[in-house]
Symmetry: C2
Subunit: 640 residues, 2 copies
């Protein structure tokens, strides 16, 4: 029976890579095979390749014109033109034509006056002028490609010119992926209505298969193995005894009772590393079975991807004997302080956008289970093991996950959360596919601060001033004294109480929050919704301290709605669209103005102009109305 | 009949791109198709994609441990541990397991002492601690991917988690490539012994096909069309009437009499641009036929590639609605001044290597016909239209063609040319596949100057001092006063007269160079071979002025040998290996020491250590001897 593993001997990333990669001899690890040159793109040469033919294989015209023995042209000048007889002394040739016998130069067509059977020239040519000589590009027997070279499109051209129509390349590394777990359901077995509770779609193996395609490796995905120790052990052994070059076992690498991988690997071979001090990716197992690298890949999708990139990708590069390009790096400023755990190297996913001369990095959620933190990320900030995090004004490096151009095309919106921002992003993408939005939810006041610090193009805000009854403008006067801004209304929206379907606890209004059988979920300090709630409570003379759950804060409308859906809370204040998205009930409380605050220096930026066009478009307004709970009567209005 | 076109209306690159791209409406140009998500890597979304399932679809354990109603744990502390009954109050769960009924938190396994039917805890958990709630990653109906998004491996994971098993993507753009020309022979028709004079292997179409694969487009390569005006015209019309999205006609775009493409395009549709002021790539034709972009691609391979990258690549990016990543750029110093023609934007191929804190760019030959100038290049320097070139000390940008790491792994050798340097590069690649050599031939003295200026790691030199009879050392004393260097012998080699096979003019020695029926080819000033020749002439009391061809200079042994092979010269001084490579005869004249001069600051650089190991290896020496004309008795000896 398997032992229960705890990470007593966790290794740093560098230690783990060192231990793992040095355990194998990659020299000749891959066999070679012969492929047609025309199909050799991205394959890796196994041997030096020498040319069979010279190119050009004959002296040929480098220009369109007339081939000639250069001596016949000597003496020609503007004052003393020379006449030469066509097909006797000179011969019409096009670029690439072989030089006729007894000629050694080409007179360019531009330098010739053609006159029936003769041409007139006013300039001499010297021997071999405008001629491409034999072997000028490639000399037969010359090295065309060295070994361990990844074949490019240009190489294909050069090889064919050199008469090399097939080449010997290294095999593509073959990686066997073994998904394990009783809960994993292959996609073809997922019923249309969805899975049963406890079941999970098989997705990691497909993601890793796509990564392997990028690395130039072959993926053999084996069927899901249930949580059965002997079966798992047998399957690993079978894979390690197959023609696979690398074996990857999915999940089964954390320290749970069903995690048989480490025990099986210990029995079958040698576990080199169990646990790496990276986050995500900690529960990685690195082993050697039958002289082959075997990897226990963690179950959470982000952990799976990062572990794979840190261990499988370099393994493939070493087998092929080529250098994979490292991710591009850019210098960024964090949108807010980024604390991190000492002793762990963290791979923090961030959104990036260029605001003025700064690239601003907004962290995405850290959850290793949330694959969307990778799909939405523009880059990754690696926070070193010895660091406790990054200060707000500390410039750090981010590894790019997207082309750098995408960052230049990113509109950074920081502030209050509203679902119409997602809609705006989607409509913007339709109008101008190259632009994208990086939106971070830090509440309305946080948005104003981001504008002040030059860290955002736009801030979404719905700050109600109880004294004047005005939204946003009085706050701007107070907090953005030194920054010129424009204010554009995005939507007017209904705020209300989000309650479970059917409103089982019969909640009617704000007063019900004080009931002892009711637990609420709140929004964070500085959020416009929080200010609205506090205002309403004050109006009603309610002391927030008596409300269950008042101290429990979430950072978005959807998070509040999810809390209600999940039963974590009975009620929360939020927008109608969030309630509707999750099929929850909604009790309207107030109507408020949600505005975009725009730093004036970006007002004429074409990105901002485009986004304003989208806001003013009929299509956007119609889609906002379809969501319900919104009014677009002021949408697009420049309030200041 | 076709007219003869001259480039009267040549456009700049920007003008040409502007005219061409604005002539088409790319909105909806590509149809859409449905593909399985698992096969959607690198495809481009046609529409926004919304999640069907939430992920997680149920509350589940975020850790291995025991699920519990958090309230049961309240009050537990180090001093007052609590006991909880397994399978009544607490339930063992692994990461990802659904929470059992009436539980709302997970106690981590690490915080538990297990004792038969109960567990002991010393710390409370709060509600929803260590729980992943429904929709924490993906909420059903939420946007997973926007339109015009290129699908990544992570996206595949996210889509499958969100229950999206197939997606609507844009068709891959289909590009029809039509090779033309009587001289073009498809590879399957090339006889083993090679082509007839005047014939050329069909290679451009395969190179462009591989580029299209990189762009995510489909290539339909049509058979070679002979030079027949009506046939070419018919074929273009057929292609433009097919389901192709782009039509590319190869060659046929220069101004020769057989260049029917422009005329045919004028008759069939509209020629937007004929001639672009770029080098290589000038004879590009951009046209519109049947509302489709049709491109006349130049015949020289480098022109073909550059024109394709400037016009076809952006076309595909616009059709797909995505941003292709621009090439990475680095700042470089030229190894020597790089003059360029005013009025033309030049794409100069360069080798790059990092020497100390500088990246040094050594230009490759400019010939548009030489595909090897692309295969050997590490980058491209774009010299603007308004520039006459780049000064030696001018820092400029180079676009990278290889991963930046490859530049760090490049050993820069500048100096005299010897074929054993190619062998060294090949042997080095075998020993250490990640290292490569960038060798430039500027003659021995040029090599010493490069060391002096910090632009080379190593210089190859064979400078003979007639006064002392010593190679290199006296020159180093004279020219490298301020730089500490090491001197290592690479080979002792035979220099001699290279003459055509069978020595038809009966050349016996240096004296024959003065014969009036003999034309020689010389090496450039500063080349060791040139110094040797001048020394021999002086010894014999011969005035160089009476030698035919003495003023005609080439920059390498192979160039000299090619001149002899091609009949351009009857004789040239060079090394045996060059003569042998081209099957020429060789008359030995002298034995000389070819040394590597190494800046001492790089002496302990691991790259240099590796290359010295290769030089000292048995394999290298054996291969040198196999080439003939070399002596390895001093190879690897540190002379200073």
């Amino acid at each position: 029976m398997p032992k229960r593993h705890v990470y007593l001997h966790m290794k740093s990333l560098e230690e783990a890579q060192g231990l793992f990669f040095s355990a194998f001899n990659f020299d000749g690890y891959l066999k070679t095979e012969t492929v047609p040159t025309t199909e050799a793109l991205n394959r890796v040469t196994a041997k030096p390749i020498f040319a069979r033919f010279s190119s050009p294989a004959f002296h040929c015209a480098a220009m369109d014109g007339y081939a000639v023995d250069a001596r016949l042209t000597f003496g020609a000048s503007l004052e003393r033109p020379k006449e030469l007889l066509v097909n006797k002394e000179v011969f019409a040739v096009n670029t690439g034509y072989p030089l006729p016998e007894n000629t050694n130069a080409v007179i360019m067509i531009e330098d010739v006056v053609e006159d029936k059977d003769r041409i007139i020239i006013r300039k001499a040519v010297y021997p071999w002028q405008n001629v491409r000589k034999v072997g000028e590009d490639i000399v037969a027997t010359e090295l065309v490609l060295p070994p361990c070279h990844c074949v490019t499109p240009y190489d294909i051209g050069a090889l064919l010119e050199g008469g090399i129509f097939e080449i010997e390349v290294k095999q593509r590394p073959k990686v066997v992926i073994i998904p394990t777990g009783n809960e994993i359901v292959p996609i073809e077995k997922v019923p249309p209505q969805g899975l049963k509770k406890g079941e999970v779609v098989e997705s990691n193996s497909w993601m890793l298969r796509a990564l392997l395609a990028q690395y130039g490796a072959i993926c053999e995905k084996w069927p899901v193995v249930p949580d059965d120790y002997d079966l798992i052990k047998q399957t690993i052994l079978k894979a390690a005894s197959s023609d696979a070059h690398i074996v990857v076992i999915l999940a089964g690498s954390s320290a749970g009772s069903k995690d048989y991988t480490a025990s099986a690997l210990e029995e079958l071979g040698e576990v080199l590393v169990h646990g790496v001090s990276i986050m995500p990716g900690k529960p990685t197992i690195l082993a050697k079975v039958n002289h082959k690298p075997v990897i226990g890949n963690p179950g959470y999708p982000v952990s799976a991807a990062i572990s794979f990139e840190q261990f499988v990708r370099p393994l493939i590069s070493k087998m092929l004997g080529i250098v994979f390009e490292n991710p591009r790096k850019v210098k960024v400023f964090p949108a807010r302080p980024l604390p991190s755990k000492l002793g762990i190297e963290e791979f923090l996913r961030v959104k990036l956008g260029r605001v003025g001369d700064k690239i601003v990095a907004t962290p995405l959620p850290r959850a290793a289970g949330a694959i969307t933190t990778l799909t939405k990320a523009h880059g990754v900030i690696r926070i070193p093991k010895q660091s406790e995090g990054i200060n707000e004004d500390e410039e750090v490096e981010a590894e790019l996950l997207v082309p750098e151009e995408e960052i230049l095309n990113t509109i950074v919106i920081i502030g209050s959360h509203d679902l119409t921002i997602d809609l705006l992003a989607s409509e913007l993408k339709k109008k101008s596919p190259f632009l994208n939005i990086s939106a971070s939810n830090v509440g309305s006041l946080g948005g104003l601060m981001a504008i002040k610090k030059g860290k955002a193009h736009l801030a979404g805000s719905h700050l109600f001033d109880p004294e004047t009854g005005v939204y946003n403008l009085t706050y701007i006067d107070r907090y953005l004294k030194d920054v010129s801004v424009k204010v554009v209304n995005l939507v007017i929206r209904h705020q209300g109480l989000i309650v479970p379907k059917g409103n089982p606890k019969g909640i009617k209004g704000i007063r019900d929050l004080t009931r002892s059988d009711i637990t609420m979920v709140n929004r964070q300090q500085g959020a416009g919704t929080r200010i609205l709630l506090d205002y309403k409570l004050k109006q009603l003379g309610i002391n927030p301290e008596i409300i269950n759950g008042y101290e429990h804060e979430e950072f978005s409308h959807m998070a509040v709605a999810v809390d209600v859906l999940s039963g974590r809370a009975d009620v929360g204040l939020g927008i109608y669209a969030a309630a509707r998205a999750l099929g929850l009930d909604f009790i309207p409380i107030a109507v408020e103005e949600y505005d975009l605050i725009i730093a004036e220096r970006f007002w004429e930026d074409s990105k901002i102009e485009t986004i304003l066009e989208v806001i003013n478009s009929k299509a956007f307004k119609e889609k906002v109305l379809e969501m319900g709970g919104y009014d677009v009567s002021k949408t697009g209005t420049i309030k200041r």
